[in-house]
């Protein structure tokens, strides 16, 4: 079991700790007795603030489960998860919801936007729900960064898949969450649109100091990250810093062959 080491590449953490989220001995199991399936097996992980972290692994490795647990969407069987100084394991639904609303941003693979709201309304939705006024200057900056200024009044059905994901990115950024979780955010996009979205994520880390955790199985997507964590059978088996697509691919092939031979 590897304990990931945090290497902050950017300053500006503003007195906060360098670790945005951390998991300790996290176990997630489904069922009981013979049908018991362990999705996460005593995982320890630190997510560095201001970094872009990718979580990779084959299907069923537990990567999505890990992300869901870190994001407060799922509960753990045992272990602790902290978001900054807040322990989120054991929080009641109400507190968890508030936490997701105020401190976390999400980008899902598909179905990120409410069809009844236009792009701008979708972007400001988390703040609207919280009853907060969005910071106008920041909002303008985010919208310009993702290049949606012209399309703010459009409904999701009037946007392309890439545009929809960019709206989702803008929504995640607009509320200035401590951490953004992406669940295969480019999984449904062609490579060009995917690249566009990933560059935005990269830029938000570089220019805005945003912390991002992304689950993906695409080596190219992972290459945008500062750090890649590899999961297999519910454990973190490896990590890679400043990866390139080729390196990632090689490493995965490596796991594959090891998996087959072992």
């Amino acid at each position: 079991m590897t304990t990931a080491v945090t290497i902050p590449r950017h300053g500006g953490t503003g007195g906060r700790t360098a670790v945005a989220a951390r998991a300790r001995q996290v176990v997630k199991a489904y069922g009981a007795g013979e049908t018991r399936v362990v999705a996460l097996d005593h995982v320890d992980v630190d997510i560095a603030r201001g970094q872009f972290t990718a979580i990779m692994g084959p299907s069923g490795s537990g990567k999505s489960t890990l992300m869901h647990c870190l994001a407060g969407l799922d509960t753990v069987t045992s272990g602790q998860i902290h978001l900054d100084e807040t322990e989120i394991t054991g929080l009641k639904d109400k507190k968890l919801t508030q936490l997701r609303r105020d401190r976390i941003g999400f980008i899902f693979q598909a179905f990120n936007l409410l069809p009844t709201l236009n792009a701008l309304e979708n972007i400001t939705l988390p703040m609207d729900i919280a009853g907060r006024k969005p910071d106008a200057a920041w909002l303008r900056q985010v919208v310009e960064t993702v290049g949606l200024a012209e399309r703010l009044k459009h409904r999701p059905t009037e946007l392309s898949g890439g545009q929809q994901q960019r709206v989702a990115v803008a929504r995640a950024l607009a509320a200035r969450p401590e951490i953004i979780f992406g669940d295969e955010p480019t999984g449904n996009l062609d490579s060009r649109a995917g690249a566009e979205v990933l560059s935005f994520l990269r830029r938000s880390v570089d220019e805005l100091g945003q912390t991002i955790v992304m689950v993906t199985h695409d080596p190219v997507a992972a290459s945008y990250a500062d750090r890649v964590l590899y999961l297999a059978d519910g454990r973190i088996v490896d990590e890679m810093l400043s990866p390139t697509a080729d390196q990632v691919l090689d490493r995965m092939k490596d796991f594959d062959s090891r998996g087959r031979t072992s």
Binding site: T97, R100, I104, N112, L114
Partner: protein
């Protein structure tokens, strides 16, 4: 066969989503079957009762009432005792008994409490004969002997806790009979409510008929082997001249009795079936919505079926087969529930004093057939449009990643059709308000109501868009982003919102319309009472029983002090011949001259006071115009049971009224001149005016005077108005109660739409929860959407209903309904209540949405 299989699997896979539709079918079918079973059971009960109580052949006197439609005079109609002997000598007669039978009696206990039925069933007094043993048996004590003994039926005894030895006073037109209970007789069949007392024959003759040598009818029993028809012929031969008699076999007598009962039952049956029809109509919306949503949710699946080779027809049929399953399940349960409902209704009637026995429960074979056929046909027909839409789904839908396709904007064609219908309906309603004749006006009204209703249903989706936006601006905005989400959700599928709201609209439109007409009736009547009634008090039979005032009660009233005048009001039948030679049977109002102060009438010619002169009368202007009468003309009046007189027309009254519309007045003295005292009817009601400043004392004294006669009551003007209001209120409440079924189905529709929408929006809800929408906010969002739909339906319904009601009032103004009164408290209550109904409807869907697992909802499979 595969179509069947997939349909069946689909049906059972989605049974939860079908549940509310099934309940809607169930309720409507149950109401239809319940009504049929209940009315059939009532019919059976009366059939058995009448069959059991009638003799093989009954001989009764032929009374004038049998020929014309004039009211009786309240005096007993008799045949001579000698006729019994004559009949007894006829061949084939085993037994002929003279029977005494009077329905114009009231029986009270020692506390002057009326022993009669409260449900309109008669009180009957008679003599105890062998014929009664067909349907009754003495279960305690003995048959009455002598003038101070009376026997009572067991149901009445039970209801009023009467025991042998208790004192009963029977109030008859010929005087009071005080007697102690000597025995109790029990019906062998179900007696739905008539109170019956028996005396011995002599007492019954002298006290009920006034003479010892007469009877009311003859009960004839046949010797064995003689048919009733044969017996009837023999009896006719024995009587010789039968012009004074009416002969009926058992079957004829039972049928005649049933006819008078049957028309009442039919009215009730068709009224209730009408309300069941409304519930069905509302249920159609629910079913259409359900299948539309199921088809929409299954778009990809259906696309796949099409892609792998299902034909349009097969897809179409598979949806219809599911509807068939739904119809069958709902109807079968509905038929069962209907029988239960009928039993419940019988129990309810029992609680109100009408005894019905479940032993007589009648489920005709037609009942389940009608119930099943209706339920299944309505369901399948309602599912036809969604089924057709399913057939049109292209195979490409399987490949598209669209979640739920938007329903699309309501079409322009639809808008145009709806608008045209609504405008045409509005024009018809307007025409109804301007109509001169009520017959053509009511045609316009009917057409207008139907067209505006259909028009509103058709443009419902458009109106939904507009109304929801307005509502949202008024009430949702204050709920912030949650309100906005609710607004968008209500707007996203206008057709669905429109149909859900329209279902609620139908019931509420009827409620609003009837409440407008009802309160206008009260307002109009009150206004007229204020304008024209000068009497302080009116004495009438209590509880609407058509009993005439017996002499004893009149005497008691006459002795009341502080009364300026007391006016008698009799209805006297007469054949009236106008100078143009036409003869009509008319009911004349024979009143004391003081009546012109009690009820002020406008005259169009002559002076009403003159009509009370000797040999004078008045008529209404409708009759006068029809027969070209003028003051001074002479009318030939053939008094029923009396002589024919020539009366001078002294006044013509205006018929533009509700009270005494078309009445023809004569002085009681004039009537008494031509009608012998024993044929002159008793007072139907009386009016009284107190001396100035003595109103209170007079009112109390009048009440005192009637303590011994609980079948009558005295009312002052305030009481009278209140009673009028109560009566209309009661009638409206019954109608509202019956409409409640349609409204319940509509509310189920709101629940259904929300529940299915929640399922449909699973991923959306998951997304919102993931990005921080709290459970409370989510539930509030769904509740607000529900409230908006309900309030939308209420607005449409109330608006439409008030329009209908106003048009109806303007039309009925021709019939004297001159005052329009919109019952704002009722309207507002319904409006506010509909918002609460919305909250209530959202209860379960909101709870389920809140419980939804966020992860499952967003899982990207």
């Amino acid at each position: 066969m595969t179509v069947w299989k997939t349909s069946r699997r689909n049906f059972f896979a989605h049974k939860g989503r079908m549940a509310l539709s099934a309940v809607a079918v169930l309720l409507s079918v149950a109401f239809v079957c319940g009504t049929l079973v209940f009315t059939d059971t009532m019919n059976t009960t009366f059939d058995k009762l009448f069959a059991a109580t009638s003799a093989d052949v009954t001989v009764s006197p032929r009374s004038p009432e049998d020929n014309d439609r004039l009211p009786g005079n309240g005096k007993p109609v008799t045949l001579p005792a000698s006729a019994v002997e004559q009949v007894g000598k006829a061949t084939g007669v085993k037994d002929a008994e003279g029977a005494v039978n009077s329905m114009s009696v009231t029986v009270v206990d020692s506390h002057n409490k009326n022993m009669g039925s409260t449900t309109g069933a008669p009180t009957i007094a008679g003599n105890w004969t062998k014929n009664e043993l067909r349907s009754m048996e003495i279960t305690s004590g003995h048959a009455p002997r002598g003038p101070t003994e009376v026997m009572v039926d067991a149901d009445t005894a039970d209801k009023h806790d009467l025991k042998i030895g208790d004192e009963l006073r029977t109030i008859a037109a010929t005087g009071d009979i005080n007697a102690k209970i000597s025995g109790i007789a029990t019906f062998k069949v179900t007696n739905p409510g008539a109170a019956i007392v028996y005396f011995d024959t002599v007492t019954a003759q002298t006290k009920l008929l006034g003479r010892p040598d007469v009877f009311s009818l003859i009960s004839v029993t046949a010797e064995s082997g003689v048919t009733d028809a044969q017996l009837k012929r023999n009896v006719a031969t024995a009587l010789g001249d039968t012009s004074a008699y009416k002969l009926q076999t058992q079957k004829e007598a039972a049928d005649a009795n049933k006819d008078s009962m049957g028309s009442f039952l039919d009215v009730m049956k068709y009224a209730m079936l009408g309300f069941a029809g409304i519930a069905f109509l509302v249920g159609i919306f629910l079913i259409v919505n359900t299948f539309s949503m199921l088809v929409a949710q299954r778009t990809r699946e259906i696309g796949l079926m099409r892609a792998i080779g299902s034909s349009r027809k097969q897809v179409n049929r598979s949806v219809l087969i599911e509807a068939l399953f739904l119809g069958i399940v709902g109807s079968v349960l509905g038929v069962g529930a209907g029988v239960g409902l009928a039993v419940g209704l019988m129990k309810l009637m029992g609680a109100m004093g009408m005894d019905l026995s479940t032993k007589d429960l009648t489920v005709a074979w037609t009942t389940p057939v009608v119930g099943l056929a209706l339920g299944i046909v309505v369901t399948v027909v309602a599912a036809y449009i969604p089924a057709r839409r399913a057939g049109k789904i292209s195979p490409m839908a399987a490949l598209r990643d669209a979640g739920t396709p938007a329903d699309g904007r309501a079409g322009r064609v639809r808008a145009a059709i709806g608008l045209v219908l609504t405008l045409a309906g509005g024009a018809a309603l307007l025409a109804a308000t301007r109509a001169d004749k009520s017959s053509e006006g009511s045609l316009f009204l009917g057409v207008g109501v139907v067209l505006t209703l259909i028009g509103f249903i058709v443009i419902g989706p458009l109106l939904a868009g507009f109304v929801v936006r307005v509502l949202s601006a008024l009430m949702l905005r204050m709920f912030g982003p949650v309100g906005r989400l609710a607004e968008r959700n209500a707007l996203r599928n206008p057709r669905r919102t429109g149909a859900t709201g329209a279902a609620l609209m139908i019931g509420l439109a009827l409620v609003a319309c009837l409440s407008v007409v009802g309160s206008s009736m009260v307002a109009s009547a009150t206004e007229e009472l204020d304008k024209s009634v000068g009497a302080d008090f009116i004495v009438e039979p209590a509880g609407g029983n058509p009993t005439l005032l017996v002499d004893q009660a009149v005497k008691s009233l006459e002795s009341v002090p502080d009364i300026e005048h007391l006016t008698g009001y009799k209805v006297v039948g007469a054949g009236l011949t106008a100078p143009d030679g036409t003869t009509e049977n008319k009911a004349l109002a024979a009143v004391d001259p003081t009546y012109q102060e009690d009820v002020r009438r406008e005259t169009v010619a002559g002076k009403l006071a003159d009509a009370y002169d000797k040999d004078a009368m008045s008529v209404g202007d409708t009759y006068a115009t029809k027969h070209h009468l003028k003051v001074g003309d002479r009318l030939t009046v053939a008094f029923k049971g009396g002589e024919t007189a020539k009366l001078r027309l002294a006044a013509i009254t205006s018929d533009d009224v509700n009270i005494d519309k078309g009445a023809m007045y004569i002085n009681i003295a004039t009537a008494a001149q031509y009608v012998p005292a024993d044929s002159l009817p008793e007072n139907m009601m009386m009016f009284a005016k107190a001396e100035d400043g003595k109103e209170k004392e007079a009112y109390a004294a009048l009440k005192d005077a009637l303590v011994k006669y609980p079948q009558y009551e005295v009312k002052n003007q305030a009481d009278f108005k209140q009673q009028l209001k109560d009566q209309i209120g009661q009638l409206l409440n019954i109608v509202y109660g019956l409409l409640a079924l349609a409204i319940i189905v509509a509310v189920l529709g709101v629940v259904n739409t929300l529940a299915l929408s929640v399922v449909e929006r699973t991923r959306e809800i998951g997304l919102m929860r993931a990005i921080g929408l709290s459970r409370r906010q989510l539930r509030r969002m769904i509740r607000l959407e529900s409230v908006v739909i309900a309030v939308f339906g209420a607005l449409l319904g109330l608006g439409l209903g008030m329009g209908w009601g106003t048009a109806a009032q303007k039309l009925l103004a021709l019939e004297g309904l001159g005052v329009l009164e919109i019952p704002w408290p009722t309207i507002l209550t319904v409006f506010v209540a509909s918002a609460f109904v919305g909250l209530f409807a959202a209860l379960v869907p909101a709870f389920r949405a809140g419980r939804m697992n966020v992860l499952n909802a967003i899982a990207t499979d």
